[in-house]
Each structure stands twice: as C-alpha cells, then as structure tokens.
C-alpha cells in the first residue's frame, strides 16, 4: 500500500443496485461441451443485485464454465438463464450485446491487447463506447495507480509479469463501472498484499452497487471477506453456510 491513492476511484452513480431484482438467475441449467459429460447439472442460482459472491470448487469443477454461461459466451444445454431480469433466450442479438456491455469480466488468461499500452488497454471499454479521452483520462490513471501500475502506463502488456497483467485486466473490467463484475481467479498470480488490495477494489465497486462474483481457489481470501460462498462439486452447486 505504499503507492497510489488511499481509496479506490470515485463512485459511479449509474451502477446503483436494481432493488428486488436478481442480476443473474439460473433455473435447472445443464451444460455439456459437445458430446462430453455434463459439466454442470441442474444448477439453480440467483445473484441478488448489489451482492458479493465467491464461487469455489476443485479444479475442473466447472467454475470458468459457469462464468462463461453468465457472460453469454456459452449457450446452456438445457435450463433457463436470466440476466438483469430478462430471459436471454427471448432477447435479440442487439439486446444480448447490450447486456454484455454491462458486465465487467476478468478471464483466467487476461485477454489483453498486446499492441496497446497498459493505459490504452484499461481505457478500451470507455473508448469503444465513444467516451471522450478527457472524460476518462483521470479515472484511468487513478485506477492504474490504485492497482500499483501507475508507473507502467506506457508499457506493453508483453513486458508485464503474470500478476501485473492480471491487475491490468481487473482495471479494465471495472473502469466502465459495470452492473455485474465476474472474475476468474483474479488473485491467482499476485502476492497477498496486492491480492488484499484487489479485493478492496472489488469491495469498493460492490459498495457502489456492482454485483460481484469471484471464482477462486483461495481459501484465505474467502475467509477474509464476509460474503456468500457458492461451491461447485460433481457438476452441482451448493451454498456454503457460514460456520
């Protein structure tokens, strides 16, 4: 916590929670890849607006798969997926694209653009939506300082370590203040101090109204934050009750 501002970037008024509405809702959702076995089986899930949730489970349990379903990158083999209160099977292509724009996402492989600088990667979600540079410049710099990359604005992602890439990906996922933030192992490559800082960032986003779902193996992280914990095992989803 030696560099950067004392608190995360300023609040975003547009991401206020939708009261009494589930941001994500699964009804008896099943998924198999091709002709393979069911990776997910009869999943019922609801993420209330403004909640903070963890998703755990052993490697290969289907955590990334579940996040892909939420991001609409995968179609369920059966069951019903609703997003922001809309049954997605009833929505047009344009509406789905619109919904996707309200989800911030951090994938396990970061998917950064190598020919853009760290700064431009983080600014990308705002830029592609036509926001003027003067409007986002300050926010991008502050956010990158907060995640400890204030000195690497011009660097190419190629020259970053795994943990640094991960922080760029996280900054990019939150810069547009999405209604829903999904992150796949966001602290997998960083040391505990940075990990704690990232979790504070997620907490701050959540306080401003963003619904958060984080897939992680990291037990310590889960124990640190008072949040709902969902557990995937043997293709089924269980809710962990606090001891």
């Amino acid at each position: 916590m030696s560099t950067g501002p004392a608190s995360p970037p300023p609040p975003n008024p547009s991401a206020s929670p939708i009261q009494g509405q589930d941001v994500v809702r699964f009804d008896r959702v099943g998924l198999r890849y091709g002709r393979g076995p069911e990776v997910l089986n009869d999943i019922d899930l609801s993420l209330g607006a403004g909640t903070f949730n963890f998703l755990t489970g052993p490697s290969g349990a289907g955590k990334s798969t579940l996040l892909r379903l939420i991001y609409l990158a995968l179609q369920p083999s059966r069951g019903l997926v609703s997003l922001f209160g809309h049954d997605i099977s009833q929505r047009s292509k344009a509406e789905l694209a619109d919904m996707r724009r309200q989800i911030g996402v951090v994938w396990q492989n970061f998917s950064l653009i190598d020919h853009l600088s760290v700064y431009a990667n983080v600014a990308l979600p705002l830029r592609v939506q036509g926001v003027a540079p003067e409007q986002y410049d300050r926010n991008v710099r502050d956010l990158l300082s907060w995640v400890g990359l204030g000195e690497r604005l011009d660097a190419s992602p190629r020259t970053l370590s795994g943990g640094e890439k991960q922080r760029v990906a996280i900054a990019r996922a939150v810069i547009a203040k999405p209604k829903l933030l999904i992150a796949d192992e966001p602290t997998g490559n960083v040391d505990p101090e940075i990990g704690a800082r990232l979790i504070r960032l997620f907490g701050e986003m959540n306080r401003m109204g963003t619904t958060v779902l984080i897939a992680t193996h990291d037990r310590e992280l889960i124990d640190e934050v008072p949040a709902r914990v969902l557990h995937l095992q043997d293709a089924r989803l269980y809710e962990e009750v606090a001891p």
Partner: protein, 299 residues
C-alpha cells in the same frame, strides 16, 4: 504520462505483421493487372496507328522497264498521275527503299547486280487516294502504254486488322483472368489477415465494442492498406512498362507513350485499384462478422 500520449494511440497496430499477406498479395496482383491492362491497351493503340496509316496509302509499281528508259518512264508516269488526279500526292520512292520493299518478291539479287537488260522496277507511293482515283490512274497509265501494277495494301491491312482483333481479344482475356485471380487472392489475403487478428477482435467485443464499431474499424483499416498496396503495385507496373520500352529502344514514340498513359488508362487503373480495395474491404467486413459470431457462441 511520458512521450506518446495514450489518448491518441490507434486502436489497431500501425505496422502489423498480420497485415503482411494483404500488402504482398494485393500489390503483386495490382502490378500484374495493370501490366496486363496497359500492355494490352498500348498494343491495341499501336495496331490502330498502323492500320490507320495504311488506309488511303497505295503504291504504283512500274514494270517491264529497261535500264535505259526507266527514269523517263518514271517521269512520264508521274505526269500522267498528276494530270489524272491532281490532288493525290504521288512521290517516287528512291531505289534503295524500293529494292528493300521488293526484296521478298524479287530475291536478294535485286540489291546486287541485276542481269543484263533487266531494270529495277520503279515504286511510286500515293497518299490520300480514293479507290475511284486509283482506277482512273490505272486506266490513264494503261492508255499511255505504261505497264503498272497498283496496290492499295488492302490485303495487308486486312491481315493486320485480323491480328489486331486477335491480339486485343487475347489481352482482354488475360486481363480478365488476372483480374479474377487478383480478386480471389485478395479475398484470401484479407481473410488470413483478419484471422491473424481474431484475438484483437474478440477482446474488442469482450470490452463492449458494438459489432458495427469493430467491423467499421477493420473495414476502414483494410481500405487504407488495400488502396495503398494496390496503388504501389499499379505504380510499379507503369514504371516497369516504361523501363521495358526504354530498354527496347525508341522503335516508336515508345517511352513517352508508355510513361504517359492516356486519361482513359488512368481512369481504368484507378477503377481497378478501387475495385480491388472494395473487394478487400467487403471481405474484411464479412470476416470480422464471422469472427465475432464465432467468439460468441451465443447468438
């Protein structure tokens, strides 16, 4: 923030290895297409020049001459011609040219010693004569008991016209084939360029860029690269043709003719570059849509 302001950073790389196939293929294809186009048009124009020069040209060959009387007969024939058709320009060809012209019929001996009593025929060229004038000249020469053969080069002109037509047909065919090959190759090159950038496309989609935004970005980029590489290829072809004709020697107004393509040539070359560019742009748009569709299984 140091050096380059990130605000102006282009979304697509300025110098991308992914775009290399497009550069290479399109400039080569434009080179060949323009080469085929220009050489065919220059060829057709040369044929046109030859055949229009021939039209209205005729020659009078005075035969059965003796070495003693040939010059008198020539004088006499010229007088008869100018009397019969005063507005036809009749000129006696010098003997060396006449010998060269007649060589195919009379053999090489003509330029050497002629046998005793045999004289080299006299050639008179007639410019701007009509067929009626040529007929009356023939009659007048006959009446003056000068034996003469009048030829209007019709056979030669017909022959030339036939080969000109074959040449222009052939070169149009080659042009058409080059054009189709160029179009196909440009499409493949664009597709390869686009699929090399599919990660960029899917990340743009992931951060919320609308499909139209992404498609437009790549289409505009392809238009830029396509137009530039087609232009470079076309320019190389024009220079190449000029150089070739320069090295071949000034057999006609060669270099000038090749290096200064006519206005219609330039219009056609520009149209060709535009068509190649548009084909690439459409291919880029279609590929971008395809990649977007694939990255999101859900649509």
């Amino acid at each position: 923030m140091s050096a380059a302001s990130p605000k102006t950073e282009p979304l697509l790389p300025v110098d991308s290895t992914a775009e290399r196939p497009l550069w290479v293929v399109l400039s080569i294809m434009a080179f060949f297409a323009v080469l085929a186009l220009l050489s065919s048009r220059l060829g057709v124009r040369q044929y046109d020049g030859l055949t229009s020069n021939l039209a209205g040209q005729a020659s009078v060959q005075l035969t059965d001459l003796t070495p003693q009387d040939r010059l008198d007969v020539a004088q006499q024939a010229l007088a008869v011609i100018s009397q019969t058709a005063p507005d036809v320009n009749a000129v006696r060809m010098n003997d060396a040219d006449a010998a060269a012209l007649l060589e195919p019929w009379l053999g090489e001996s003509i330029s050497a010693e002629l046998p005793e009593g045999i004289a080299l025929p006299i050639m008179i060229t007639l410019s701007d004569s009509t067929e009626a004038q040529r007929n009356s000249i023939a009659q007048a020469l006959d009446a003056a008991s000068i034996s003469a053969v009048i030829s209007d080069h019709k056979n030669w002109a017909d022959e030339l016209n036939r080969s000109a037509r074959a040449f222009s047909l052939g070169s149009w065919l080659i042009l058409l084939l080059t054009f189709f090959a160029g179009t196909a190759a440009s499409i493949f090159a664009t597709q390869s360029t686009m699929s090399a950038q599919s990660k960029t496309i899917s990340v743009f989609a992931q951060v919320g860029a609308a499909d139209n935004f992404i498609t437009k970005l790549f289409v505009m980029r392809t238009i830029k690269v396509g137009a530039m590489s087609a232009f470079i290829g076309a320019l190389c072809a024009i220079l190449f043709l000029g150089l070739y004709r320069l090295l071949r020697g000034p057999s006609d107004s060669g270099l000038l003719m090749a290096l200064t393509p006519s206005v219609s040539d330039i219009v056609i070359i520009i149209a060709l570059c535009v068509v190649f560019t548009v084909v690439c742009a459409v291919a880029a748009g279609v590929s971008a849509r395809g990649i977007l569709h694939k990255t999101r299984l859900y649509q």
